[in-house]
């Protein structure tokens, strides 16, 4: 098997872009704003985007694997110039390849051979340049992934090997004609044409003159015999078939190696790009701690949604969360108080941590999850149609098909497309079933009936956060520990937008009105 491996993403295997993305992938893209994050990593490069998306959606499942990438990433952050130079060589190789017409579709055998040989000459030249870069920086990389790969380039592509490859490519020019073996088919026409490597004889001309070679009989194709000329080319093509196949496959294989480098180095270059963007906005990043105990939820300081910065928000405020012992976080409070943003930050940080990336926080600690899921209300206004509830329950059912113990599900205003009593009843049953199945939950809700019911139960494994409201009604977008209040803050928004207040019951009065002590 292949000696040429990148293995920057996994210790033992290539990063496989063919892997099917998890069914919840599209919901994660939509709900967490992953598009924006991947675009920040990849720029305008669509293939790099695909790599970033796959890395984020196909998270790693063990602390060891995560550490492997974290170490490679640390190397990259220390020597960004070398990594970017290697990536530039990879992109240059691919750009030059695109200009070579390999003629893969319905083209003649000789065209396949010609195109593949041209590619091979170019690829060998580019591989030598990559090897030289590896040689020049061999001592500077500490991570297992990068150190191994650089050593591999220097070892496998040594001068002796390159010399041999060039000799083989020269032989494939067939300057002295082709020799092939042929068998007889069902209808006694030639079959199994196989190009042979002629024996090196000391005096081929002498053999022929003295008849010391094998007996042979031949004929020439007349100059005006055009059909005969075409048949001769066809015969040649048949002989070349297996060799052209071998050369084309060799070309494919080297290109596949280059493609691997493109994805795997590209992922880290994407991390560098994102890191630069956040650093330019003076936002912190940290290497996440992966805790071995899978029971807890998450502990973080200054956790923020990097998407806010990428979309140009002027000030991004981080939140703290102490849910290291909790199995559910319930988030209530003012509309536009940062609840959805916080939920996105929770989801993104977990996906980034499990992709082996840094996370957008001052400090972050969480266990590995068996999966990250989102169940977000699809539209802001919740008209009470059964179709919407059908749709919500259908999505919940799809999640249930995929979720397993140790996963985390982020709910955003779920089951609110029906009336509060029904919605909270459904949600309670969902939450109860999931908690018993050891699935962790973060639940943003404005359904007081639901949040209050959980609070009354007095469960120590529930953390309540509340979107705070500044005294003047402006939003700081900061969440603080706090029990659910019975009303949301829509009136504030109304006031802000309409410039006038509406008569509104105070929170405690509405408690009384609902008959809640």
């Amino acid at each position: 098997m292949t000696a040429m491996k990148a293995h920057l993403m996994h210790r033992d295997t290539d990063f496989d872009l063919e892997t099917t993305l998890p069914p919840q992938g599209q919901a994660l893209m939509d709900d967490l704003g992953l598009d924006q994050l991947c675009t920040a990593m990849s720029g305008a490069d669509n293939e790099a985007f695909v790599v970033a998306r796959a890395a984020l959606l196909l998270g790693l499942s063990g602390p060891e694997e995560i550490a492997y990438r974290q170490h490679v990433l640390a190397d990259c952050l220390t020597h960004p110039a070398v990594v970017r130079e290697l990536y530039a060589l990879v992109l240059e190789t691919l750009a030059r390849q695109r200009k070579i017409h390999r003629g893969l579709f319905l083209s003649s055998t000789s065209a396949i051979l010609r195109g593949s040989l041209e590619s091979l000459h170019m690829l060998i030249e580019m591989l030598v340049r990559m090897r030289d870069l590896a040689r020049a920086n061999s001592g500077r990389f500490r991570s297992e992934g990068l150190a191994t790969m650089f050593a591999m380039l220097a070892r496998e592509l040594d001068d002796a090997y390159i010399t041999q490859v060039k000799a083989d490519l020269a032989e494939l020019e067939f300057r002295r004609g082709e020799l092939m073996s042929v068998g007889l088919g069902t209808y006694l026409t030639g079959v199994g044409h196989t190009l042979r490597k002629p024996r090196v004889t000391a005096h081929p001309m002498l053999d022929r003159l003295l008849g010391t070679g094998l007996p042979s009989h031949g004929f020439r194709i007349a100059e005006r015999d055009e059909a005969g000329g075409r048949i001769l080319s066809e015969l040649k093509a048949r002989g070349l078939d297996k060799v052209a196949n071998a050369v084309a496959q060799a070309t494919d294989n080297i290109l596949a190696f280059i493609a691997c480098l493109r994805s795997e180095v590209g992922f880290y270059v994407g991390c560098l790009n994102l890191h630069d963007r956040l650093a330019a906005a003076s936002l912190p990043t940290c290497r996440p701690q992966i805790c071995p105990d899978p029971r807890g939820m998450v502990w973080a300081r200054g956790l923020y949604d990097p998407g806010l910065c990428l979309s140009g928000a002027p000030a991004v405020i981080g939140n703290d969360i102490d849910a290291g012992d909790a199995d559910i976080v319930v988030i209530t409070g003012a509309n536009q108080g940062g609840k959805s943003t916080f939920l996105r930050a929770l989801g993104l940080s977990q996906l980034m941590a499990q992709a082996g990336m840094f996370v957008a926080a001052d400090a972050y600690r969480a266990p590995v999850r068996t999966g990250v899921f989102t169940h977000f209300k699809r539209q802001e206004d919740a008209s009470m149609t059964s179709g919407k509830l059908d749709e919500e329950l259908h999505r919940m059912s799809e999640i249930a098909d995929e979720v397993s113990p140790g996963a985390v599900i982020l709910f955003n205003e779920s089951f609110s497309s029906t009336n509060e009593r029904e919605g909270s009843q459904i949600a309670r049953e969902v939450i109860r079933a999931l908690r018993e199945a050891k699935v962790r939950i973060a639940f943003v809700t404005h359904q007081y009936d639901l949040a209050h019911g959980l609070q009354v139960a007095g469960d120590e494994h529930i953390v309540f956060l509340r979107a705070a409201r500044a005294e003047d009604g402006g939003r700081p977008f900061r969440l603080l520990p706090g029990e659910p209040l019975s009303t949301s803050f829509g009136a504030d928004l109304y006031a802000e937008i309409f410039g006038q207040t509406v008569a509104r019951a105070r929170a405690d009065e509405s408690h009384d009105a609902l008959g809640v002590p």
Partner: protein, 509 residues
């Protein structure tokens, strides 16, 4: 020497129909049969499907063969036989078209090989199978005699040894400019292996295959011919043997075995259709044919045309029973549209036609008779003539049907009189019904006129059904039930839980 027929007890007495009967299009048998024989055009199988057998012994003759063919090995062997005979004929035809003598001989050798494969494969399969049918036992005797006879013995031995000698030849070709040289191959190593080894370190397992797949077929050109002459000069003994083979092997194909190639197709295409529909959830059963009675009892059957269509969509048809108890002769089918009334009517007609071909019928069990005639009249809504003209035509047609039917006939009337007033439909329908009852004919009468369903003791009332949860969905279920035009309304009420049962439970809570 003439061989046995596997289709007819007495081939000399058979008169084959060349077109499908009139009722085939009403019953959609034209579509079904077209699908069955699709891909077997060159065998011209339509007459076999157009001609009903009228003697129960002829039906039994075929039923026995179908039963023997439940042995999948045997069926497979017959498929192989057909393909090998086809190949034999094709190769002989191609041989005649070759310009160069050595290539002509090559095609004769290949044809001989295919013929040996066909005959030996057939004998082996017939020998290994436990045969119960009269037809296949006779065939086995015939093939056994032929295959062990002098012609086949010699052909078998000569073609095998000649092929082995040709296969052993490998020569070397050197191409240089416009010169082609032929010489013995001296074991030089494969260049592609060498190239693969050089780039082995980049190998990643499965790789795209760039080899072209040029067929060998058209290659008997003058260059190949010239090369073959040079090869023959290197191997004179082998090519002399080929010449002798061709001189001896000409015109040996047995006429009976050629006819057999066509006749096995009938069984094979029917079996293929059965397997396809079985995969779609349809059962097939060998009907019991009783020519002393006119009893009908088929359980769990389906409309084969519908089943064929649904199988393409990976859906299963709903099964119905076609059962007439003692003294019952006429089905009156009523009920909501879209519920399967027409499907049921078609099903009954199809059963009688298929059984009279000696085929299995859809169902878990079946008892049928061989009708002396089958008549159908289906309303065609696209018929745009005046209502009066249409009614007139309809009555003329029904009259003719009744005139030409006996107690051993099958009559299927689907939605006739639909375009008239209820009054007319009731009066005319009653008259027609009374005549059918008097004839004692087996009939299916699809109508919206409830009253016809209780016209006499020989009339059975069937109703099409709808899905209670979704009245718009088609069920195709047709069950014994007194005619009741209100069933559809009840179903809709059920869906919204305002029918009697639901309402009383909800109110009482």
């Amino acid at each position: 020497m003439s061989g046995p027929s596997i289709l007819f007890r007495d081939p000399g007495a058979v008169v084959l129909e060349t077109t499908l009967p009139d009722y085939a299009s009403d019953l959609l048998l034209d579509q079904v049969i077209a699908h069955i024989i699709k891909g077997a055009d060159e065998y011209d199988l339509l007459p076999y499907f157009a001609t009903r057998l009228s003697d129960v012994r002829d039906v039994t003759y075929r039923q026995e063969v179908f039963t023997d063919l439940e042995d999948q090995e045997l069926t497979k062997a017959l498929v192989d036989y057909g393909e090998a005979m086809h190949l034999t004929r094709t190769r002989l035809a191609q041989s005649g078209k070759r310009y160069f003598e050595r290539f002509r001989q090559a095609w004769v050798l290949a044809a001989g090989e295919a013929y040996v494969t066909a005959v030996d494969g057939l004998l082996a399969a017939l020998g290994a199978a436990r045969l119960h049918s009269e037809a296949l036992q006779a065939l086995r005797r015939y093939v056994s005699d032929y295959a062990t006879g002098p012609v086949m013995t010699r052909l078998r031995a000569d073609s095998a040894s000649l092929r082995a000698r040709m296969d052993a030849i490998t020569y070397a070709l050197r191409l240089s400019g416009d010169r082609i040289t032929v010489q013995a191959y001296d074991g030089e190593p494969d260049l592609s292996t060498h190239v693969l080894a050089t780039f082995e370190k980049f190998s990643r397992g499965a790789a795209k295959d760039y080899r072209s797949r040029t067929p060998n077929w058209p290659d008997s050109n003058h260059i190949e011919a010239h090369i073959l002459e040079l090869v023959a000069a290197l191997h004179p003994d082998e090519f002399a043997a080929l010449e002798r083979f061709c001189a001896e092997f000409s015109d040996v194909l047995d006429p009976a075995l050629l006819a057999l190639e066509r006749d096995v197709q009938f069984y094979l295409v029917v079996a293929r259709q059965e397997r396809w529909l079985e995969a779609g959830g349809v059962d097939f059963t060998m009907p019991t044919i009783d020519d002393r009675s006119t009893q009908v009892d088929v359980r769990g059957t389906v409309d084969v045309a519908l089943a064929d269509k649904l199988a393409r969509e990976h859906r299963q048809p709903v099964r119905n029973d076609v059962t007439l108890l003692d003294g019952e002769r006429i089905f009156v089918v009523s009920g909501p549209n879209q519920g399967g009334k027409t499907t049921f009517a078609r099903t009954v007609g199809q059963l009688f036609h298929l059984a009279a071909l000696g085929c299995r019928v859809p169902g878990t069990s079946a008892r049928l008779f061989l009708p002396d005639s089958i008549h159908t009249h289906f309303e065609h809504p696209e018929d745009v003539r005046s209502l009066r003209g249409k009614l007139q035509d309809e009555l003329i047609r029904v009259h003719r049907i009744i005139e030409s039917s006996t107690a051993r006939s099958v009559v299927i009337l689907n939605e006739i009189l639909n375009s008239t007033t209820l009054e007319d439909a009731l009066v005319l329908g009653t008259r027609i019904m009374d005549q059918l009852i008097d004839l004692d004919v087996l009939a299916v009468y699809v109508t919206f006129v409830d009253e016809l369903a209780s016209r006499g003791p020989s009339v059975v009332s069937l109703m099409s059904q709808v899905e209670p949860e979704d009245p718009a969905a088609r069920t195709f279920r047709v069950v014994r039930q007194p005619a009741n035009g209100m069933a559809y309304a009840a179903a809709i009420a059920h869906k919204y839980r305002v029918d009697y049962e639901h309402l009383s439970r909800r109110v009482s809570r």
